[in-house]
Amino acid sequence: MTLTLSIDRVEPRDRGRVGDKGYALSRMARRGLPVPGALLVTVEAYRRYIDLTGIGEAIALEINRKIADEMRWEEMWDAALRIRTLFLRTPLPADIHDGLARDVEARFRDVAVVVRSSAPGEDSAKASFAGLHDSFVNVRGTESILDHIRLVWASLWSDAALLYRKELALDIATSAMAVVVQEIVAGDRSGVAFTVSPDDPSRAVIEAVHGLNQGLVDGTVEPDRWILDRRTGQVLSHRPAERQKALFASGAGVEVRPLAPGPAGMPPLTPQDVDLVFRTAMEVEKFFGSPQDMEWTIRKGELHILQARPVTAGEPAAGEDKRPWYLTLRRSFENLKALRQEVEGRWIPAMIADADALSGIDLAALSDEALAAEIDRRRSLLGKWTDIYTEYFIPLAHGIRLFGQTYNDALRPEDPYEFMDLLGGTEMISLERNRLLERMAGRVRGSPRLAEALRTGAPSGLDAAFDEDFETFSRTFGDLGCGTDRCFTGQAALAGLLLRMAEAPPAKERFDPGTIDRRRDAFLSRFTGDERKRAAEILDLGRASYRLRDNDNIHLGRIEGALLAAVAEAMPRLARRPGFAAAGISAEQAARALRDPQWRPQEGVPGKKREGLGSGLRARQLRGQPAGPGVARGPARVISNPEDLLEIRAGEILVCDAIDPNMTFAVPLAAGIVERRGGMLIHGAIIAREYGIPCVTGIPGAAELIRTGDCVSVDGWLGIVTIEAGPSL
């Protein structure tokens, strides 16, 4: 068995052993093109590792947890995270370790390297899936290089790869990963060259940045861009970048630094450099016989080719396929930091201002015509904010993952979600709201008179502190919550909830500041110097992402609530019209009806259909994703309509399609949570962890397969829900 091959010893028959990237580099090296020295770790090393450690079965179990088409993007994140942990915690067996260590030591004893993925078939001319697997820049020392080889292996099963698993024919029995361990060339200027522009086949494109290439590839640093005539090499246009920063090797990794005024004022390439890059790229194209996408760097005036692969027309297309958008969510630390500033500094204040402005409008005073205009205005406002949410807020959630990966790499914990404990206890609005509810419930618990008054609907005047909280709650949070199509309005809903909360023992949040501090110290102690500062920044980003993931929904919920309030104002007006069935009409229909007294909706909105499994079938046990550790057992409370949430009683298992932050007031009453939507970043899972409530997510059809009253047990360790006793078949 051959664990490694030197780049100059690769024969055509070795292509499948060293992967496409490694093979292309070796061919260029043999041709005499300027590529850095490299050692190629063969797929046999990967296969032997999988075979000897037996982790193949665990990977297969993970990726086949459910039908691939039913796995949400967040669930793929989770699966990839668990698989990565598996690789992190499974050491190299001695013979592989010793063999690789000997070869790496002989070649890179004191040299920093880039550890690159090189999957067989990834650069085939029919399809190209660049960027699905990981590469690591500036890795130093034999043990660290060996660790990073394992991480590149793990990225064969990255979330991005799982998204494209059908196209990649990803399969435990046949898929494998080779690795290129390449001497780092710390260039002062770097970039990419496409010998054929994706937009115009008669042109070529060169992009360049100061510093290392990785900044360009991951989008952290904006490049200068040249368009050239493919035939003559003549520059047709040059678009300069702002050139504020660049990426440089630093310690064990890379860092972004501001550019000095000198380089910032100059394009990274002179006209002669542009010509050199173009001619080299064309030589590579000629050599391989097809248009090439070449990564390069220039050090002390010398050009080095870092990698080259064919440009293909088979790149993932956008349109109906949302996967290319998901891929854009894998963002760099720098990118996320900038995004956070934008979200916190710009979007959230603007959204709060919009919500405040809406709540100041007296809807009852509006004429029908004015109310219709107001409904339309709120609809378009909600549309605008939903778009901003998709574009800015959702990508910011990646900060949680980035921190999780940093934490897991540093501490290699048994529980891949241990890092979530460090994110808890942040100031989330839904927790503040729940604390206020709990305080009011506490007063009801201690006062039978207050409880009785709440029951009869006249609680004010008995307890000044309670009255003040009640008033604060309504003022700060408005209605109790908005579901998908309506809000719970009025005091009766709040009173009912408080009474039920009072019947139960007080809900406890799981995190105390001491525990979080201890965990933070344990995390930071793994780093020193600048790396420690960066780790602290990544933690801070993770905590902000986690907090905002919840809070932004509360704010968006207020805008949504404002629209629903306007529709609620229209309903009684419309219901008074003869023959008008107002129930269930949409906001758009309400506005239309307000404007046109003769208009009637065609037909009522059908109620939500209970799908179930069909006659004669009953779910007994369902497997999803573990999302909140612990085991709970109790009667199910299935949330089919928003009103169902108001019926929840202490100790019940909350079963729903998806918990949004506006529904989280009910969570502290629940003994366990079961949700269709999957993944550790969903709101239900986040809140469940805050209260230490066992939670299983990603159960397709949860709210249809389980019925209110079924005795359900929730295993939040393994992600299993068992319906112990339900209606007879």
Binding site: A60, L613, A619, R623, P700, G701, L718, L729
Partner: protein
């Protein structure tokens, strides 16, 4: 939920193609006993299996007809954990005689022609299990209860 909805079809297909099931019976003191039997399934509601009368399982069944039968399509490969279907039938076994036995033998040998001599032997008993419920496991941990077609 797609694989759950097609579950009944997958179960029927498995009953058509698998030839062996693990039969569980209870001994005189309630002690469990398992044995491998060949079976035929004219539908999901009925299973037929045969045993010679000198066996422990026959003795058990004479005293207590309650049975569980496990049918599965595992191949002893890694993929079993996500591909294999395992179905347990709960029901009661009754020994057939006379006309019923003849009809049962026809159904049994239609699927298992090579066992005709065995099942027609005077020393061999043919049992019919009326299935009350199937408990079907997919993907290692998903469990669905299925009421058989009548």
């Amino acid at each position: 939920m797609e694989d759950l909805i097609t579950l009944r079809n997958r179960l029927e297909e498995m009953l058509r193609t698998q030839r062996l099931a693990v039969l569980s019976t209870a001994g005189p003191g309630g002690e469990p006993y398992s044995s491998l039997v060949s079976f035929a399934a004219p539908g999901t509601g009925r299973l037929l299996f045969a045993t010679t009368r000198a066996t422990r399982k026959y003795e058990n069944l004479r005293a207590d007809g309650r049975v569980a039968l496990l049918v599965d399509n595992r191949r002893n490969e890694e993929a079993d954990f996500h591909e294999a279907l395992a179905a347990t039938a709960l029901g009661r076994a009754v020994e057939l005689s006379g006309e019923e036995r003849e009809r049962g033998i026809d159904a049994y040998t239609f699927k298992l022609p090579f066992l005709e001599e065995f099942v027609r032997a005077p020393s061999c008993a043919l049992f019919r299990v009326g299935v009350e419920k199937w408990i079907v496991v997919t993907r290692f941990q998903n469990v669905i209860e299925v009421v058989p077609d009548s």
